[in-house]
């Protein structure tokens, strides 16, 4: 199965910020429907890798392919418009939610479907209501982001990303900015997504989520993938010393 056409393929990606290497030869193949959790110490390059997949960051070398279309590579020079179109394959959820503060919850969700995809407003609104119900916020469509708690904002952000009907969802530490009592509600929405077969790449330290939802857990250390294992092996028999250290700290 792992050699069929992957939905996301990352090949030997390198990236530096000035003299500081962030990604040092990362390769990763993700099959449709897989849930990948990426863990590791901060500064290991997890978020940068995720942002490179969506090309919010450029890469220095290597190749990134999503849904069979090249996002980045040495011979790839995409016009900005093409890049915007390719990004529609990917949905992204950010640590700081990044909802549009000047728009209502409903307008946050339908802005891109109506103005980028050209879906009629009435249809987009109907779809947005379905998504809001799915993330447990059916009564909040007229609220503004500032009126919502962090957990509610993050759930709206997930609905907003889903409204573009992406093939792959990227989560960049989606619960790291949340108060502990709000983490659960966001993880529940993500669990639901994974059960519906969504392909997900999740940068997170929530090991309970990883254990329950992940097909593979990846440990990144200093810009490299040092472990890539199914949850049961990751927790009981990791191959890398870095993973053992990480787990010792996380699980006490």
């Amino acid at each position: 199965m792992s050699n069929e056409n992957p939905i996301v393929e990352i090949l030997d990606v390198h990236k530096s910020y000035g003299p500081t290497p962030i990604l040092r030869g990362v390769s990763l193949r993700v099959q449709a429907g897989e849930v990948i959790v990426i863990a590791g110490r901060s500064g290991g390059g997890k978020s940068t890798l995720l942002r490179c997949i969506d090309q919010l960051e450029t890469i220095d070398s290597g190749e990134i392919t999503v849904c069979g279309e090249a996002m980045a590579g040495s011979t790839i020079h995409l016009a900005p418009g093409q890049m915007a179109r390719l990004r529609q394959n990917l949905g992204m959820v950010f640590q700081q939610f990044n909802l549009f503060p000047h728009l209502s919850v409903l307008d946050n969700i339908i802005a891109a479907p109506t103005k980028v995809l050209g879906i009629p407003r009435a249809l987009a609104t109907a779809e947005a209501r379905v998504l809001l119900a799915r993330v447990g916020l059916p009564e909040k469509e007229n609220a503004f982001p500032k009126q919502l708690s962090g957990g509610q904002q993050q759930r709206v952000a997930i609905a907003r990303a889903l409204a573009m009907q992406p093939k792959v969802m990227l989560f960049d530490e989606p619960t790291s900015a949340l108060d502990p009592e709000m983490i659960r509600e966001v993880l529940d929405v993500m669990m639901d997504l994974s059960r519906r077969g969504m392909t997900m790449i999740v940068v997170s330290h929530e090991m309970s989520f990883a254990r329950a939802a992940a097909d593979r857990i990846i440990l990144m250390h200093r810009g490299q993938i040092v472990d890539d294992l199914p949850p049961e092996q990751f927790f009981t028999a990791p191959s890398s010393e870095h993973t053992r250290q990480f787990l010792a700290k996380r699980l006490g």
Partner: protein, 236 residues
């Protein structure tokens, strides 16, 4: 010559003065509109990746902010004809004021755009928006909220600065007051009437500005339901 209440009230309701007031109002509005468009274009050019565009915009802002408006006006109206460019009074005034406002507004807009969080750009791009949609849907509406107060100050300033156009014989409020003053030499009466109308205009604008600020600030002012404690039943 003593103060004449008669002349004062006569001037206050004179159609000639009111015509000048009206000219001042539309001159200000049109100049600001030109300035806002130029300011947005210059700000976006200044923030572009192209060194040429950045250079052109920076030169424009530098030159226009570095010279007095009055000098710009007389160059446009009385100097340009030497190059065969003959502009009427109204065209000269609008061009002079518009270019000058644009130069100042460029910096205001740039500050407004830079005040929008980088995460907003990330979110817009991740949703598949190209540069134009990102600017129109996400960045500029948020920048505009930050820009309204300084923009209001500029509008207020422009209402008064428009009086400079009297120098190139634009038929606005100050020039009409000047001409009334010369008929009967009721100088103080005429200029006080002009001053009163300027105060009235800037005061009206102050109220308008308040409403605009309230409108754009609304999504940020709403009281949230964040961290509202549940009523503790045990304490009742």
């Amino acid at each position: 010559m003593t103060w004449s209440w008669n002349s004062f009230f006569e001037y206050l309701v004179s159609p000639y003065i009111l015509a000048g007031v009206w000219t001042t109002v539309w001159l200000t509005c049109v100049s600001m509109a030109i300035g806002i468009v130029l300011g947005f274009v210059a700000a976006l050019m200044k923030m572009s990746n192209s060194a040429v565009l950045r250079g052109i915009a920076s030169f424009y802002v530098w030159l226009w902010r570095g010279t007095p408006l009055l000098v710009q006006l007389v160059i446009i109206y009385t100097g340009l004809p030497q190059f065969g460019i003959k502009l009427g009074v109204i065209e000269s005034a609008l061009l002079g004021f518009g270019l000058n406002e644009g130069a100042y507004f460029a910096e205001v807009v740039r500050a407004g755009i830079m005040s929008v969080d980088q995460g907003q750009t990330d979110a817009a791009r991740a949703l598949g928006m190209d540069y134009r949609r990102m600017m129109r849907i996400v960045i500029l509406p948020q920048a505009f909220r930050v820009v309204v107060p300084p923009l209001g100050n500029q509008f207020n300033g422009m209402l008064k600065t428009s009086s400079l156009a009297s120098v190139i014989s634009m038929e606005e409020l100050l020039r009409h007051a000047q001409q009334l003053a010369q008929i009967e030499f009721r100088v103080l009466e005429a200029y006080l009437v002009a001053a009163i109308y300027y105060v009235i205009l800037t005061s009206i604008w102050g109220q308008v500005q308040k409403r605009i600020e309230a409108y754009y600030g609304k999504p940020y002012m709403l009281s949230g339901n964040v961290a509202l404690p549940e009523p503790d039943l045990a304490l009742r």
